[in-house]
Amino acid sequence: MLQGKWLTAFFGIVLAIACGGHAWAQGTIKVAYTDPLSGPFAQVGDANLKQMQYIIDYINSKGGALGKKFELVPFDNKSQPSDALIALKSATDQNMPFIMQCSGSNIAAALIDGVNKHNDRNPDNRIIYLNCGAVATELTNEQCSFWHFRFDLHVGMKAEVMVRSLPKEVKKVYLINQDYLFGQSVQREVKNYLAKLRPDVQVVGDELIPLGKVKDFSPYITKINASGAQALLTGNWGPDMNLLIKAGVDAGADLRYYTFYAHLAGGPTAIGVGGDNRVLAVMSFGENVAPEIGNKEAEAFAQGFRDKHKFDFSAAGFRTIFEYLQGAVNKAGSVDPTKIALAMEDLTVKDFLGFDTRMRKEDHQIISEYFVGTFKKGVKYDAEGTGLGWATSATILAKDVDQPNTCKMKRPSAS
């Protein structure tokens, strides 16, 4: 009996807190955020979440938009498209104007489809999908949607940057990618740009691995070694990235690694000292970019995150997203998703490093600067306490990544 009373009291308190919280949050602009927060890729979602929270606090301290603050509402999607769609349903049920998702192009494809259908059926309760990192090229070409805005360069652009950064003496390369929409996109685009820009380079191996299933990459390294490859090109992310490079470094393979995601949380720890001057990452930001170009303000911003959390700040792109939101909401003068989407088109923002960026109207793909970082000793900010960090070896300006698109966008009828 006593237990029953305690339970009632407990739920009473929980209810009171929940209601109180709700009332307080009324005046915010809510952004639903869905990514894996549990399961094998949880580290990726969690790192994103922490960085976004840091950025939102900053944006809110700069006045938010229309006098309102942004609020992030996380939903775990366990790397499953079906769970992401449940998150979308909750977001639209609560009338949130934005849903954001970063990890997994297969999930992004499902979300684009879901958002399109929802917006068609519910013209007075629309939602905008902010894509913070699902980069399969198709998403802004064949699958492009008026409601989808991508804030990271797509695979085609990243692949071009990667291929251009291959040194002259590399003649034989090996490709390993994850066997799903994104990995296959990387495989196709890298081969495409190799053929176009570096016909002298020979692809000696081309492999797809099951997503998140391989526990020991040593056999792959053996195979790569036997093929005589000088460089390994991979779009892998999460444990598939970390275990792959760790296996290569442990075997002392004489390889250079060209990656999209080695700089993300967990990567540097897995690579370790053995990867000195061997691992390159095509990335939107590295902590050493700001000191290298002498931007004190950006340096302090990244430093602020490091002081608060135990890992590195890699997601400068997220700050650009919220600056776009701020700009578009202010320009639209309302939180109506249709007006915001229109305001976002062809919007330009000078990002916090001082480079020009633009949200391309034709396919809703951001055009921004990009960097190639080399993992080595002797940099100002080391990564994850390894003593090594990302030195910028190339900076590619927005105008140089501006590839054509094949998007035929269906726009909402004027209303």
Binding site: Q43, K213, S218, I221, A265, T269, G272
Partner: protein, 315 residues
């Protein structure tokens, strides 16, 4: 040839790691009939304990202390958890360990964070032992091989040549008889469960820095260990050993052989073109499905030889 030799070594190392994990589980499963879903969680705990201990007092003490800690946790789980649940049958036990696995994962995430921890190979062993056809063979892998071989020997001798081992074997097949003879069967159960968990912990200690120590490591190792146990057969340590090595080798060699069903058909003079039915499936190469092969074998052995490779009784 060079690929073959290196792959053989890699497969052996991976197989031995699997064996360390699976041997404990096979003991628990065959003796208590408990399919312990939390077994791989002990592996993860072993790695995390070893990391934390190695930060303060170094790797070598961790090698002893971490498995002991895991064993203690195992004993506690058996005495205060499983023994009560046992009365309600096997399904209850299964669900109990399943819940436990989820809880342990969450606790690990909360205590050590979601990111991999920098658990490294000890400096003493951080050098290439030898170089074979341009690929270094790290000394640490040889160390892993040695530890697991030692362990196999120790368990085998312990089970077949000592009094305790004989009592365990008796309790394994005839618990009521052993009990009637005055042996404390529940205590034996606790002992076996603790020993099994400690073995998993030991596997974690030496596997955590070979792979990456992160909260998902239990989740990724779990299924394959079950495959090994079922494939090897209940109540047979030798079967478990053979199954582990086999799985290690299969997964390693599956990566190396770039063949597809289409290539196989071509040998019989049948060419697969894009218009052939199922051309997509026929053209999938072995490395793309390598990670699934153990599960295919699990299905096959359950259909054709349900008691497993060297099992002494049905599951």
């Amino acid at each position: 040839m060079e690929v073959f030799v290196v792959s053989l070594l890699n497969g052996l190392v991976y197989g031995m790691l699997l064996f360390m994990l699976a041997s404990g589980l096979t003991l628990i499963l065959s003796m208590m009939g408990v399919l312990n879903f939390a077994h791989a969680s002990a592996y993860m705990l072993g790695a995390y304990f070893a990391y934390t201990i190695s930060v303060y007092i170094g790797f070598w003490p961790a090698l002893i202390i971490a498995p002991l800690l895991c064993g203690l946790i195992g004993a506690a789980i058996e005495m205060w958890g499983l023994r009560r649940v046992h009365r309600n049958g096997h399904i209850a036990e299964l669900l109990f360990t399943f819940g436990l696995a989820l809880i342990i994962e969450k606790v690990v995430q909360m205590s050590w964070g979601l990111l991999p921890v920098p658990y490294r190979v000890p400096e003493l062993l951080d050098f290439p032992l030898f170089k074979i056809y341009g690929t270094q063979f790290p000394a640490y892998r040889a160390f892993m091989l040695a530890i697991s071989a030692l362990m196999f020997g120790a368990i085998w001798l312990g089970l077949t040549r000592t009094r305790v081992g004989l009592v365990i074997q008796a309790a394994l097949t005839h618990p009521d008889m052993a009990s009637a003879l005055g042996h404390n069967v529940p205590r034996i159960f606790t002992l076996v469960f603790a020993a099994g968990t400690a073995l998993a912990g030991l596997a974690g200690v030496i596997g955590g820095n070979y792979q990456v120590t992160e909260p998902a490591m239990a989740f990724t190792m779990g299924p394959i260990v079950f495959v090994v146990v079922v494939f090897g057969g209940l109540g047979s340590l030798t079967g478990c050993f053979i199954a582990s090595i086999l799985m290690g080798l299969i997964q390693t060699f599956a990566v190396v052989f770039d063949v597809s069903l289409a290539d196989l058909l071509a040998k019989f003079g049948f060419t697969v073109t894009s218009s052939t039915p199922f051309a997509e499936v026929l053209n999938v190469t072995l490395p793309r499905v390598g990670a699934l092969l153990p599960f295919l074998m699990l299905v096959l052995i359950l259909v054709f030889r349900p008691r497993g490779l060297m099992g002494t009784r049905d599951t």
